[in-house]
């Protein structure tokens, strides 16, 4: 006779049943290719009509991308440096924007709508075509009012101030980044806004009664209360910048596989990239966990 399952057993079974799609997908369409990526990176992959054959090559692919490949090392280092500069700027901007958008003023909903628009408009193809188009425009020398506005105009202005050249270059670089930073901040602003609204108003009221100024309550209440969310946002921003499909290394890996030096080389790049992301995330979490304040 079949024994009926107890309530607890049935719940365990149900838990596995609900998770089953992911367990299947993870094994077949994630973990299997993930292991393959490591294997491919040590092999040369030859594609024929019957499938593909692997020829073991040891660390040759890694040697190739680090010593011979014309672009990889440059793009790899540039991407890391770019991310390291952009992440703090994105965090600072989105935190400030969230503080502003959390205030009461006329047109707040419209402002929030616009600030979040970049998330909708982040199509990879559009970004790619914009870059191509910019090149076309430059070749023709027409309609580059923006370039004059930010580039030449500001450069002339700064040159007249007799500041050190390095400093001027830094300012110009930062100005060039502004649009990218703003466009990369949509979701971070939302996360910060939600965080700001989760701080109970009674804490601010108590501080106000005790005579704290707005400046003091920002640094002693808002900032510590928001620190776990700053960490969440930092991790999100790092992942978002490194893994977004328009990232240069991601594109290089794909192009190299399909029309470049082959799958082996491409996967060696991907493995190095993956290891680097893990290291940077690890450092971020380790360093920041010291000053993150948890209420509980």
């Amino acid at each position: 006779m079949k024994k009926r399952l107890s309530f607890k057993q049935r719940r365990i079974l149900a838990g596995y049943l609900f998770s089953l799609p992911f367990l299947l997908g993870f094994t077949l369409f994630f973990f299997y290719p993930f292991i393959q990526a490591f294997i491919f990176s040590f092999n040369e992959l030859v594609i024929s009509r019957e499938g593909f054959v692997l020829n073991f090559k040891g660390f040759d692919n890694y040697g190739y991308i680090l010593n011979v490949h014309p672009d990889f090392l440059r793009i790899f280092v540039e991407t890391i440096l770019d991310t390291i500069t952009n992440v703090p700027l994105v965090l600072a901007f989105s935190f400030f924007a969230a503080l502003v958008l959390n205030q009461r003023f006329k047109g707040r909903f419209l402002a929030r709508t616009i600030f979040f628009l970049p998330v909708i408009l982040s199509a990879g193809i559009i970004i790619q075509m914009d870059i191509d188009d910019m090149v076309t425009q430059l070749l023709h020398g027409a309609r580059n009012a923006e370039l004059i506005f930010t580039g030449v105009g500001l450069r002339n202005l700064l040159m007249n101030t007799k500041l050190p050249e390095g400093f001027i270059e830094f300012i110009l670089g930062a100005v060039d980044r502004i649009p990218d930073i703003i466009r990369a901040s949509g979701i971070q602003i939302l996360i910060f806004l939600a965080g700001l609204q989760s701080i109970p108003p009674s804490i601010y009221e108590a501080a106000d009664v005790e005579g704290a100024t707005g400046w003091e309550s920002f640094w002693l209440i808002t900032f510590p209360m928001m620190s776990p969310i700053i960490l969440t946002n930092a991790v999100y921003t790092i992942i978002d910048t490194f893994l977004t499909t328009t990232n240069e290394v991601v594109m290089l890996v794909r192009d190299e596989a399909i029309m470049g030096a082959g799958y082996g080389v491409s996967m060696a790049m991907a493995v190095l990239y993956f290891v680097m992301i893990l290291i940077i995330l690890g450092i971020t979490i380790k360093v920041s966990s010291r000053w993150v304040f948890y209420q509980e």
Binding site: P33, R143, T232
Partner: protein
């Protein structure tokens, strides 16, 4: 004697009391003055804060909207307007010809429909699979549920190229994991790769969806679920009759994000469809060449650029319409999901 000293004390007392009262009155007056001044200061401070805030908001909005507006304006221009240095924002020769040409070059109705079908398929499958998985690990205690959750988070930190490049090979020689004879069948250039990875919750950023929905289900009250069990509802009935209706705000968010990210996707689309098929993406890439009747030499011309701008507007227009109707859901999305606690 007694009375004498008594009056002395009294007089002294009254005198000091009077002095003190005058003092206090004086102080009150000074305080009032200061308050008036500080109120005035506060007003000035308030006004200057609003001015700075307005400048900041307008500046940022300009940077965000500028590329979109520029594309929109260009799409109504003729080639003569582009070369005319005096024309900046308002086209002198307003025309709809660009739209007519681009619409035809992109075969817009067909490519729009194909893209919509693919996007809806993917986002609905991801919605179902991610919600089910999130419910499983968020609401049931079983050995390994924390481990499964950490696997879902792990999928977020692996570069998508590292997975999709070997995956595309597997799909090219798909043997159903040994069930079919070598070399298997090719699933590329079909919907199947998208269907398989979406139905099993390992598509683009699905780890994030699982994370968000798990938080959502974890935050729902226990009593509701227990009441359903007491009334004799089974696990699945409780799920779709009690828990799902309560999770609708979260579901809307997942669906919208999944839809937008799939619509905008460039990466999976080019790998799994290898640039073929009549989708908006491929149509947009080929639009300029088609409008020029296949003349490669003119691809760098201003006219080609106008066509590309028009094509980009046509590409993102459906998303803008969606955003116009659903913006409240997008903007309040993260508060609704309670991701921050």
């Amino acid at each position: 004697m007694e009375t004498n000293t008594d009056t002395g004390v009294k007089v002294r007392f009254v005198r000091t009391a009077g002095l003190q009262a005058a003092d206090i009155l004086d102080q009150i007056n000074r305080e009032k003055d200061r308050n008036r001044a500080s109120r005035f200061n506060k007003k000035i401070k308030g006004i200057s804060i609003s001015i700075i805030r307005a400048l900041f908001l307008i500046g940022v909005s300009y940077i965000i909207l500028m590329p979109l507006l520029e594309k929109l304006v260009t799409s109504f221009m003729t080639e003569a307007d582009i070369f005319d240095q005096t024309v900046r924002w308002i086209p002198r020769n307003f025309t709809l010809d660009n739209y007519r040409v681009t619409w035809k070059a992109m075969n817009y109705p067909v490519s729009f429909f194909n893209t919509l079908l693919l996007t809806l398929t993917v986002s609905i499958l991801q919605l179902i699979s991610c919600t089910a998985v999130a419910y499983g690990i968020g609401r049931f205690k079983f050995p390994g549920n924390k481990f499964i959750f950490s696997l879902a988070v792990f999928t977020l930190v692996v570069p998508p190229t590292m997975i999709t490049v070997p995956l595309s090979l597997n799909f090219k020689y798909f043997t159903f994991f040994g069930l079919l004879p070598e070399p298997g069948i090719s699933l590329l250039n079909s919907y199947w790769p998208f269907i398989l990875i979406s139905a099993t919750a390992v598509g683009l950023r699905n780890g994030l969806f699982i994370y968000v929905m798990r938080q959502f289900f974890k935050g729902m009250p226990r009593d509701l679920e227990e009441a359903a069990y007491v009334d004799g509802a089974g696990v699945f009935k409780t799920f779709y009759r009690i828990m799902l209706p309560g999770a609708i705000p979260g579901l809307v968010v997942i669906f919208l994000f999944s839809f937008v990210w799939q619509w905008n996707d460039y990466f999976y689309n080019t790998i799994f469809l290898s640039g073929q098929g009549n989708f908006l993406l491929q149509a947009l890439q080929g639009a300029a060449l088609k409008a020029l009747d296949g003349d490669h030499n003119k691809l760098k011309s201003q006219y080609a650029s106008i066509i590309r701008h028009t094509g980009m507007i046509l590409y993102i227009a459906p998303l803008l319409v969606l955003y116009a109707f659903m913006q409240r859901y997008f903007i309040e999305s993260i508060q609704r999901t309670g991701i921050v606690g």
